[in-house]
Amino acid sequence: MNIDYSKEFEYLVKTYEKTGDDASPLMDSKYDSLVINQDRVLAKNETEGIKIETKKIKDGVSLKVYIKEGIVKPLPVHLCFGMLPREGKQVIKSEFFVGKKSKVKFISHCSFPNAKHIIHIMDSKVHIEDGAEMEYTETHYHSKEGGVETYPKLRGRIENGGRLKEEFKLVVGRVGLLKIDYEVEQLKKSICELDTKVYGKENDRIEIREALLLNGEYASGLAKSRVVLKDKSYGNVLGEVQGNAPYTRGHTDCQEIVYGENAVAYSTPNISVKNSLAKITHEASIGRIDKKEMETLMARGLNEEEAVDLIVKGILK
């Protein structure tokens, strides 16, 4: 039976654009792409050097993405996940295999525009082979109801000389409940950067764990997070970096900004060194929105709410 999913596709594309990004690559055969609504693959496009396997599982889709050895993808791979219904659950179990000396960038969007109560589980594994590079940016668009529970989980391993840059961004719409759990093991001379940006409002709850295990000589990593908490929202960030091998360099950097009487922020850097030649550092700050920045924007005619939004937009860019 052929079912026409074009309307769902169209709707998802529209919400994708609400994040401010260009959705046209999803309809362009030059780009590798994958579009999933709930547990259905609506569209898939593969070009040379990439293989995307999908399989329906309970409440979602399991996918495996293979980048062939030595392939350098000149254009980003676009992924679009979402759920259009108001209630339900979506599980995306993904596994990325990035072959030796290959290079690829993924641009992923997760859209839940109508959510009243949706559970979204992203369970990812990433294998980056020797000298390979992967960049993954994930942008979320949620409804204003705050009814999304998001559980992004990443377990990664970067082989010798490999690189991973992962960026998670949830600044449009309400967060709801967000529990990020990222852990990356790094081998010799590998580089990793984890970067999370979240804007919590009303009674949103944000829990972030970013962990880097620097197990190979000269491995370096940065676990960075920027969280803005407004109204009664709650944020708790844990940045873990372990220097377990000689000459490893790691840093965890957490900045939280609290705006509102009842917002609550916690930040815990957890760093450790098991080799005397390793160097691991941390910085964490929790502060308010700068008064002079606010007043400067208000002196140009913005009201308080508009000024806060613009400042936050800059911080979380």
């Binding site: 920045e293 208000m298 937009k313 800059g314």
Partner: protein
């Protein structure tokens, strides 16, 4: 209420008093600024110039304990900062704020169309292609940041602009550019309240008001007031009147 409003007068400050704790900072300031006028407010450090600017703009924590501010004949003493800006008053700070992640293009689009941002930069003598995509953060030099601030001021086409020490901490080229911009404001009909402790900068004013110990000690023709300032104020105890003992 009859405010004695004259139609050429755009901003009036009447008997303005202000306290910080028990200390009185402004002790009855009176000013009357006309449309398109450049009024230099000169005075040594600590005489209340920046407090005066903050109260006129309506910044948080700066409230008059007595007196009032009138804009186009209407009492604005108790209206918000945003509302004052919407009516046409704005302020450029001595040390402008830096913004993480906000580009010059976005910053200049706040009060205007994105299509005009190139013109705003040209207005202050900066090349749009070099600045539009830069971030308004600490990587800009002091002079660049101040010129971008003036471009932002220009973007909202204010009726009154308060410039707090626009020449402080910047290079000579930027000072000339800023003087040029102030003259352009005048041509647009925008009144400028130029707050400075530098008599050379104050000379571009149509009139000068000399502030001392929270009061306007002398007001009038530019050369006359600046001459008075140079002769009397730098060796004075700044007590709101000429310290005859010191002048002997």
């Amino acid at each position: 209420m009859n405010t004695g409003y004259h139609q050429n007068v755009i901003l009036e400050v009447k008997n303005l008093h202000s306290k910080v704790g028990d200390k009185e900072i402004l002790k009855g300031v009176n000013l009357s600024i006309e449309k398109g006028e450049i009024r230099s407010i000169i005075g040594v450090n600590g005489t209340g110039k920046t407090t005066l600017a903050a109260i006129i703009m309506g910044l948080e924590g700066y409230n008059p304990s007595n007196g009032g501010i009138f804009f186009e004949g209407k009492d604005i003493t108790n209206i918000s900062l945003t509302e004052r800006a919407k009516r046409g008053i704005t302020l450029a700070w001595q040390s402008p704020a830096r913004f993480e992640g906000i580009t010059v293009r976005e910053y200049l689009s706040i009060g205007a169309s994105k299509n005009d941002v190139e013109n705003f930069l040209k207005f202050v003598g900066l090349a749009p292609n070099l600045y539009l995509n830069r971030v308004v953060d600490e990587k800009l030099s002091g002079g660049e940041r101040k010129r971008i601030e003036l471009a932002s001021v220009f973007s909202i086409r204010p009726k009154v602009v308060i410039l707090d020490e626009p020449d402080s901490g910047i290079d000579m080229a930027s000072i000339h550019a800023i003087i040029n911009v102030i003259r352009k404001f005048k041509k647009m009909g925008t009144a400028t309240l130029l707050i400075t402790h530098n008599e050379e900068m104050a000379k571009i004013g149509d009139k000068v008001s000399l502030l001392c110990d929270g009061k306007v000690l002398k007001e009038g023709e530019t050369e006359e007031v600046i001459k008075f300032f140079k002769q009397n104020c730098k060796i004075c105890n700044h007590i709101g009147q000429i310290d005859e003992e010191l002048l002997k």
